[in-house]
């Protein structure tokens, strides 16, 4: 009885797929590069929506509800990313391709920004990708959150130079340069495994299984 107010959206879905295919076909006439980026973006959004992966939930639920399934999924994600990054980075160094990574050293601004973002994402109920995905889903509250996100991004981008000048930042450390690739990977994966064990233990303790 509750479901009667909803109709099947299959024809809308099919229509949208046709529209997207035509749009991509049109775009590929202009630039292959743009088409590939668009396809990647759409696939990421699709996977995000269908998997309903939520970074906020991964970081908040252990403390609030004592559930760590998503936290462990997040650790798995980190592990896969580390292996993938190692592969890409190693391949790039073999062929002398410079990598532009947009990675910056830690400083006071990182901590302040992290705390602000953490408070904001719990209040808004989504991190950046989560907000974008839920706007697409039709969750109207996230439009407000998106506006807040834009304001925050602009303020951060404008003021980050001042933060760096006032507080300075620690020198960047690249672990593979110090330990070598294999020990670094072992160190990182084993610390992730330890966190995984900690998360399982925490859930057992909280839910009393």
């Amino acid at each position: 009885m509750e479901t009667s107010s909803f109709h099947s959206q299959q024809k809308w879905n099919i229509g949208f797929i046709v529209f997207l295919t035509l749009l991509l076909a049109l775009l590929s006439q202009i630039s292959i590069h743009l088409t590939l980026i668009t396809v990647l973006g759409i696939s990421l959004g699709f996977v995000l929506q269908k998997s309903r992966f939520c970074l906020v939930s991964a970081l908040r639920d252990p403390l609030l509800l004592g559930m760590t399934q998503l936290t462990r999924a997040f650790l798995l994600l980190l592990g896969i990313s580390i292996l993938g990054f190692a592969l890409v980075s190693w391949g790039a160094s073999q062929r002398n391709i410079p990598l532009i990574l947009n990675v910056f050293p830690l400083g006071v601004h990182t901590v302040v920004g992290g705390v602000l973002f953490g408070i904001g994402m719990v209040l808004a109920g989504g991190c950046t990708s989560g907000i974008l995905m839920r706007i697409g889903e039709g969750f109207a509250m996230q439009w407000v959150a998106f506006f807040g996100l834009l304001v925050g991004v602009v303020l951060g981008e404008r003021s980050v130079i001042n933060w760096r000048n006032v507080f300075g930042e620690s020198p960047g450390i690249f672990l593979p340069d110090i330990f070598g690739w294999v020990p670094t990977l072992i160190l990182e994966i084993s610390s992730l495994l330890a966190l995984w064990q900690l998360a399982s233990w925490w859930q057992k303790k909280q839910l009393g299984e």
Binding site: Q9, R52, R60, M67, E137, G138, F139, Q203
Partner: protein
């Protein structure tokens, strides 16, 4: 076998789960709690929480981005 429902439209997680927990306390064993949400994380969170607590849960995506949940209280 009474059916209860709580209003959680437009609420973001974890508020619906906290409300559901509160409502479950006042329910008898075998009662069903019906929930409908348009927040993806909420729906997944409730399903995971129910399974961890060994309640029976049925989830259905009735329309794009709208989830219908039926939670049966199996034990106190």
């Amino acid at each position: 076998m009474t059916r209860f429902s709580i209003e959680i439209w437009g609420e973001m997680c974890p508020i619906p789960l906290i409300k559901a927990k509160k409502k479950l306390l006042s329910m008898q064993c075998g009662d069903i709690l019906v929930l409908e949400t348009e927040h993806s994380c909420t729906s997944r969170g409730i399903v995971v929480w129910s399974k961890a607590n060994r309640y029976i849960i049925e989830e259905k995506e009735v329309a794009n981005g709208i989830w219908h949940l039926e939670l049966t209280k199996t034990h106190d």
